[in-house]
């Protein structure tokens, strides 16, 4: 142990601004782990921003500029004649569904303590997500005026098997 102050002062690095920076800015964390939770948090924000436009405009069209009572089969059919609206609805459906169900996942994570239950609920959520997404997708993609879903699916399968 050195207690001689003169010796100690001699050993000391010469104080200068350069010295300070050399101790300071050497490191910073690399980008944090891109874990699932980080992704989920990001997804909330990104999809949220998208949904502001998608959902609000959708609601405006369906409830304000046109009264709900007029949004009948023919109205939808007219809209879907333009592929833009199909893409629009696809996006809306996908983002809202996964945004929302991701929210439910978080809520369940908060309130369900037991690991087993949490797993069960998450599997159910996953199942709901896939089912509803397929249901919605199928409708939006395959909708043709005056053709019902069963026929469309049948036709699709038919071509497929051929």
């Amino acid at each position: 142990m050195t207690t001689n102050i003169a010796e100690r002062q001699a050993q000391r690095p010469v104080p200068s601004a350069a010295n300070v920076t050399s101790y300071g800015t050497t490191r910073r964390p690399g980008p944090g782990s891109s874990g699932w939770e980080t992704f989920s948090w990001y997804f909330f924000r990104v999809s949220g921003v998208g949904l502001v436009f998608l959902a609000l405009i959708h609601v405006f069209i369906m409830h304000v500029s046109t009264d709900v009572s007029q949004t009948v089969y023919d109205f939808v059919a007219a809209r879907y004649a333009n592929p833009f609206w199909r893409v629009y609805d696809l996006l809306l459906l996908t983002l809202a569904l996964f945004h929302g169900l991701n929210g439910v996942r978080i809520v369940c994570d908060d309130y369900i303590r037991s690991r087993g239950w949490r797993l069960t609920v998450q599997s159910v959520l996953f199942f709901i997500a896939i089912t509803f997404w397929l249901m919605g997708m199928l409708t939006v993609i395959t909708f043709h005026k005056n053709e019902n879903l069963a026929q469309t699916v049948g036709a699709l399968l038919h071509t497929f098997i051929r």
Binding site: R45, G48, V49, L51, V52, A55, L56, V59, F60, H63, V64, S65, T66, D67, V68, S69, Q70, T71, V72, Y73, D74, V76, L93, A96, L97, G100, L101, G103, V104, V107, I128, F132, M135, G136, L138, T139, V140, T142, F143, N146, N148, L149, A150, T152
Partner: protein
């Protein structure tokens, strides 16, 4: 009960509105699936949306959606704008104000048909 400040209530509301909108979305997916079963089935089903009660529910949905979207923007600002946290309370009041301002005309458009007024042109309100 904890007497939290506005942040606590804004969060609670955000959570409830989010879940409510999701519930509506799930129902909505079911009803659009009916499109595939042809116009009669679909139109019969969708007519329910024009009833008074469901009109009321829809306005609630609109309120929820407005609040949830504006508050979502507030949260995003707190997260990404370094001084966002300082203004969180003010932003909350702005969110409330914006939601209400957006809500009033929209509610009018949706609810007016109950009283036979059709601000959007054609409308009708079947009895349940």
């Amino acid at each position: 009960m904890y007497r939290g400040q506005s942040g606590q209530w804004s969060w609670l509301l955000h959570r409830i509105t989010g879940l409510a909108i999701l519930l509506f979305l799930l129902v909505h997916i079911v009803d659009i699936t009916l499109l595939g079963f042809g116009p009669t089935i679909y139109n019969d089903a969708i007519a329910i949306f024009s009833t008074g009660i469901i009109r009321l529910v829809s306005t609630a949905l609109i309120a929820a959606l407005l609040y949830h979207s504006f508050n979502g923007i507030r949260i995003i600002l707190i997260d990404f704008w370094p001084s966002g946290y300082k203004y969180q309370q003010q932003m909350f009041y702005i969110v409330l104000a914006a939601s209400i301002i957006g809500f009033i005309p929209m509610a009018f458009y949706i609810l007016a048909p109950i009283f036979g007024v059709c601000p959007a042109g054609a409308c009708n309100t079947p009895a349940m």
